[in-house]
C-alpha cells in the first residue's frame, strides 16, 4: 500500500507515493532522480547517504521516507549557486585533492557544511569529529580536513 509523501527537497515542494518500507534514500535516488546521496551499506555505517534534514545531518538509508512529511531536505545538489558557481566547500575539496573515487564526497560535504553552518571557526578536532561518521576508503581524510580548514579560514585566494 502506498501513501502520499509531501516534503521540501532542495527548496522545491515534492509529492510522491511511497511504500512504508521505502527509505528516504530509495525515494531520493529512485523516485526523484537525486543521485548525489549514494548507497553504500543500507545500515547507516558508511555515511555515503548522509543528507541534511531540517539542517541536521542524518542517514537517508535509515530514514523511513514517510517520516519526512512536511520537513526540509537538502542534498549536495543544493550547494551550487543559482549562477552555477561551486560552493566554497566544493571548490576547496576539488582544489585540495580531497576526492579520489568521489563516492564518499557528497556525504563528506554534507557533514562539513553542517559543521560550518553551526561553527564558522572549528578547531581541527571539531572537523575530525564532524566527518568521523563518513568513511573514505581511498584515504583522503587529511585532504578533507585541510579543505574544511581552508574554507573556515577564509578559503584559498581566487585565481
Amino acid at each position: 500500500m502506498k501513501y502520499r509523501l509531501s516534503f521540501i527537497l532542495n527548496n522545491n515542494l515534492e509529492e510522491v507515493l511511497v511504500k512504508p518500507t521505502e527509505t528516504l534514500l530509495d525515494v531520493l535516488r529512485e523516485k526523484l532522480n537525486v543521485k548525489s546521496p549514494k548507497r553504500g551499506c543500507d545500515t547507516g555505517d558508511c555515511g555515503v547517504c548522509t543528507i541534511l534534514l531540517n539542517g541536521e545531518p542524518i542517514r537517508a538509508c535509515l530514514t523511513i521516507a514517510l517520516t519526512v512529511e512536511g520537513k526540509d531536505v537538502k542534498t549536495v545538489e543544493s550547494f551550487i549557486s543559482k549562477d552555477g558557481k561551486l560552493h566554497p566547500l566544493q571548490r576547496a575539496f576539488h582544489e585540495h585533492g580531497a576526492t579520489q573515487c568521489g563516492f564518499c564526497t557528497p556525504g563528506m560535504l554534507i557533514s562539513a557544511k553542517a559543521l560550518l553552518d553551526k561553527n564558522s571557526s572549528p578547531s581541527r578536532d571539531d572537523i575530525v569529529e564532524a566527518v568521523s561518521g563518513n568513511i573514505c576508503r581511498c584515504g583522503c581524510y587529511y585532504e578533507i580536513v585541510e579543505a574544511v580548514q581552508a574554507v573556515a579560514g577564509g578559503g584559498k585566494k581566487e585565481g
Binding site: K19, P20, T43, G47, R59, L62, I64, G133
Partner: protein, 286 residues
C-alpha cells in the same frame, strides 16, 4: 505481497490505541537506527509501522527535582543540552561518545532502551542514576526502574501494547556526588561498545556512603555490580580499594566472545575501565 500499514499519530492516546488493537503486529519506529537496517536486509518485515516521532515525546524538563526526558529525545539533544549536563552529566558523556553525529541526530533514548542491546550505552548511565521509566498502554501507566527493565539480549519487560513515554532521573544527593562514564570501542566513532562502564559515588567527608557501578557489553543485559558497590560503602577510596572493587565488578559479569571482542579481553579491559571510572569519579589519579 504483504500490505504494510503506516501510522504517524500526533497524540500519545492514538498511538496507544493502535498498539492495543494490533499488539505484536506493530513495529514502533522512532529514529530508525536499529530497526531500519534490519528492514533494509529483510530481517524484519513489519505488518504495521507506527511512527512515534510526531507525538511530542522529545521534551527535556525538570519536575519535582527530577530530570524528565521524553522517550523520543535524540542522543544529540542529550549530548548538548545544558539541563542534562547539569543534572545528569554521566548521561551527556555517554550520549557524546555514541556512534557519530548523523546517527545521534536520529537515534532516541527510548529506542536505545527498547532495543535492549547488552551494549546499550545509555542504559548504564541511567542505572547508576537510579532512573525510572514511565510505560503506558491504553489500559494505564506503570513505572519500572531501569535496572529492572532488561530481561535478556534484545528483551525487556515492555508488553506488546506498551510505549515508553519518559525517563525520570532523580537528582544527585549533593555536590559531592560524582559520576563517570567510560566506553571502549574498536575505534573512537561508529562503534558499539566492547565494554562500557558508568559509576556514581556519593561521598561525605571523603568517605563513600553509597555507590553505583554499571557495566555494559559484559553480560546478556547491562548490569549493576552490587557486590562491588558494597565494597565501596563506608570506605574512603584509595588505589587498593579501587583495584579490589574493579575485580569484583568484573567477577559479577558474564562476558562472551562475539564479533567485537573476546570474553578474555573484555575481562581485562573491563577491570581497567572500572578502575579508571571510579578513580575519575573520586578525583584520583591512578
Amino acid at each position: 505481497m504483504k500490505e504494510i500499514m503506516y501510522f504517524a499519530p500526533s497524540k500519545v492516546d492514538e498511538a496507544l490505541k493502535i498498539l492495543a488493537e494490533h499488539r505484536k503486529k506493530v513495529t514502533i519506529l522512532a529514529g530508525g537506527t536499529d530497526i531500519v537496517p534490519r528492514m533494509n536486509y529483510y530481517d524484519v518485515e513489519p505488518d504495521i509501522l507506527l511512527y512515534i516521532g510526531g507525538l511530542g515525546l522529545n521534551y527535556l524538563k525538570e519536575e519535582e527535582g527530577k530530570l524528565v526526558i521524553g522517550s523520543a529525545t535524540t542522543w544529540s539533544k542529550l549530548a548538548c543540552d545544558s539541563l542534562v549536563a547539569e543534572k545528569a552529566s554521566v548521561l551527556s558523556e555517554a550520549a557524546r561518545r555514541g556512534s557519530s553525529i548523523a546517527i545521534r541526530n536520529a537515534g532516541t533514548i527510548g529506542g536505545n532502551l527498547a532495543n535492549a542491546s547488552p551494549a546499550a550505552d545509555l542504559a548504564t548511565p541511567l542505572m547508576v542514576m537510579d532512573a525510572e521509566l514511565l510505560l503506558a498502554s491504553a489500559k494505564g501507566e506503570r513505572v519500572v526502574g531501569v535496572t529492572d527493565f532488561f530481561t535478556g539480549p534484545g528483551e525487556t519487560v515492555l508488553k506488546p501494547d506498551e510505549l515508553i513515554i519518559e525517563i525520570r532521573v532523580p537528582a544527585l544527593a549533593n555536590s559531592e556526588s560524582k559520576t563517570a562514564f567510560l566506553k571502549l570501542g574498536r575505534r573512537r566513532a561508529m562503534t558499539l561498545s566492547v565494554v562500557n562502564v558508568a559509576v556514581r559515588l556519593d561521598t561525605e567527608d571523603r568517605t563513600c556512603y553509597d555507590a553505583r557501578i554499571a557495566l555494559g557489553s559484559m553480560a546478556p543485559t547491562p548490569i549493576r555490580c552490587v557486590k562491588a558497590e558494597e565494597k565501596l560503602k563506608g570506605k574512603s577510596i584509595d588505589k587498593g580499594l579501587i583495584n579490589e572493587c574493579a575485580e569484583q565488578a568484573v567477577a559479577e559479569s558474564n562476558p562472551i566472545d562475539d564479533q567485537r571482542a573476546t570474553a578474555w579481553y573484555r575481562r581485562k579491559a573491563g577491570t581497567a575501565l572500572v578502575s579508571r571510572a571510579i578513580a575519575q569519579a573520586a578525583g584520583l589519579t591512578i
